[in-house]
Amino acid sequence: MSTSQTPLVEVRNLVKHFGSVIALNGVSMSVNHNEVLCLLGDNGAGKSTLINTLAGVHKPTSGDFLVDGQPRVFSGPRDALDAGIATVYQDLAMIPLMSVTRNFFMGREPLIGFGPFKRMNMDEADNVTRDEMHKIGIDVRDPQQAVGTLSGGERQCVAIARAVYFGAKVLILDEPTSALGVAQTSMVLKYINQVRAKGLGVIFITHNVRHAYAVGNRFTVLNRGKTLGTYAKNEIGIDELQNLMAGGKELQSLSEELGGTI
């Protein structure tokens, strides 16, 4: 990847404390136009905390946070969305009692009408939701059905379709395929490629090294709240990457014990 261009989003020495818990202890990473950055690491390494900070959910304790080369402080996720950063959260951020459509457009409602008579354009919202869900490979039976009645994977697809629809500059996906079927997973990986080809930056978190290697251009590995390193795809092999993801633990022996299937 060229280093001359300004990264879309960059953090340097980011630190995040929750009371006495040190979740991030000096993390640096960046994502450029036209690039898929895979964020890898063990459970509890701090991946979700990092992307929550990028998405405006948390305020960093210290460190630099640059958007398009300019220092930014988001006062909340709404700011991040306004800046074109859309996120699929690990917990999906869906509201079970609300309809698929209302969830899809939550916080970004399409409006029609003027002045005090501005209202939600429900028909358009329903149509967009149905179309976007169809593209990701889910036939929504009825966009007005409550999200609580969807299967776990379907719910995850709503969150992904939503972020892809609204992400204008950066798309962040926190383990988006953890509940998905084979077809939907391939669809999501294909999406990531498409979104990147349109010039966006993608931050992709996964525990599946093959998924990461399939779409990633660069890999940033976190371990215990620190950056272990960042590698371009041509610098690292898939096996080496997998060892790094496990926090440097030797997976070889475990893999052999289980019959060499992981």
């Binding site: 209302r102 409550a146 204008a168």
Partner: protein
């Protein structure tokens, strides 16, 4: 911006896994179903047991007036409950707003319009205080507003003694607003001309002297209907409505999705306080006086009406039009019992019974309709 422009595959609009949703199922999905069913049952009950005078025009106005006073509070409470919070201070707020409004009119002797603005300013302040305390401390709004239930009631007592020179009642509001162009908006009956005409045309009942038995629609009923319609439109059709459902359904998820949850909840607390203030203005001008017991226990009745109207205690689900019907059920039973030979004190038993039934019913409906697992 989207992938929509790149892929133009035709999208199937039907799905073989979807049973045709009958109108019945669609109705069963509505949160206000319980309140409508309750209203039908109560109506049938009184049609069978009450003096037919209850369902004459005069009788209907008779039970709609208290229904309206409660309903304005209940709709505010319903919006707040859907937004995930409670306000137990609305009853005391009615008394407090009555004090502020009465003092402005009678003691400071300002015009009606200024007195209303002063009352509104206090309501906004108290709404914001409730909201800020709830959100800053992270305590349940139940506890924070319970404190204000006592604080506001106490302030009202102290204030009344101060304003009236030792009494717990303040009088003279009717005289103070006489002739004010704004007064007809908040007191008396609307459309007297229409009702006189209807009486002359023989369409509605008249007294022997030819004047109509019902001289117009009490203004609180019009406020009640207008607020119910407005609240329903906001909830179901506007962006703010979507934010209310989201903030109550899961505030963390809502915030992550870009909903300004704190702003939504603050607005809702202010709206509730404003509803209480409106009821205070209406009832104070109606009675011409205010006292420390005004709005006593109305917070519970309002919350019960909202629950009968389909609001979940956990937030994120409910309806304003349901609270509208729930309040009418209340008014009907409160006044209806006087048209029967039944002891009026059964009202309280009914109140509790209705609450219990509604909560159980809501729970079942929610699980079935929203497929909660």
């Amino acid at each position: 911006m989207t992938l929509a422009n790149e892929q133009n595959g035709s999208v199937a609009r039907s799905d073989e896994r979807l049973k045709k949703v009958s109108t019945l199922t669609a109705i069963l999905r509505r949160p206000e179903l319980g309140a409508v069913a309750g209203l039908v049952l109560v109506t049938i009950f009184f049609l069978l047991t009450a003096n037919p005078a209850m369902f004459t025009l005069a009788g209907v106005m008779n039970f709609m007036a208290p229904a309206a006073q409660l309903g304005i509070l209940a709709i505010g409470a319903a919006l707040l409950m859907i937004g995930g919070e409670f306000d137990l201070s609305i009853g005391s707020m009615v008394a407090f707003a009555g004090l502020v409004f009465g003092t402005a009119l009678v003691v400071w002797q300002v015009p009606l319009s200024v007195a209303i603005l002063v009352a509104i300013a206090f309501a906004v302040f108290i709404g914001i205080t409730n909201a800020q305390l709830t959100m800053r401390t992270g305590l349940p709004s139940f506890i924070v507003t319970l404190a204000f239930l006592f604080i506001l009631r106490g302030l009202t007592l102290v204030g009344l003694k101060w304003a009236s020179g030792g009494a717990t009642q303040l009088r003279g509001m009717k005289e103070a607003v006489a002739g004010s162009p704004l007064a007809p908006l908040f007191s008396g009956d609307a459309f007297p001309g229409l009702f006189t005409w209807l009486a002359q045309a023989g369409i509605i009942d008249t007294f022997p002297n030819g004047s109509p038995r019902v001289s117009g629609i009490p203004v609180e009923i019009l406020w009640f209907i207008a607020i119910a319609l407005l609240a329903t439109w906001i909830l179901l059709r506007t962006r703010f409505g979507n934010w209310i459902f989201a903030s109550g359904g899961d505030p963390r998820a809502a915030r992550k999705s870009g909903v300004p949850v704190a702003r939504v909840k603050t607005t809702l607390f202010v709206v509730t306080a404003l509803c209480a203030t409106l009821v205070a203005i209406l009832t104070v001008l109606d009675a011409g006086s205010t006292d420390a017991r005004r709005g006593f226990q109305k917070e519970f009745e309002a919350i019960i009406a909202a629950v009968i109207g389909g609001c979940l205690l956990t937030g994120g689900y409910g309806s304003a039009i349901g609270a509208f019907f729930g309040s009418i059920v209340f008014g009907m039973v409160l006044i209806g019992l006087t048209y029967t030979s039944i002891d009026q004190d059964w009202y309280l038993v009914f109140l509790g019974g209705m609450l219990l039934t509604a909560v159980v019913f809501n729970n079942v409906i929610r699980k079935r309709v929203t497929g909660e697992r």
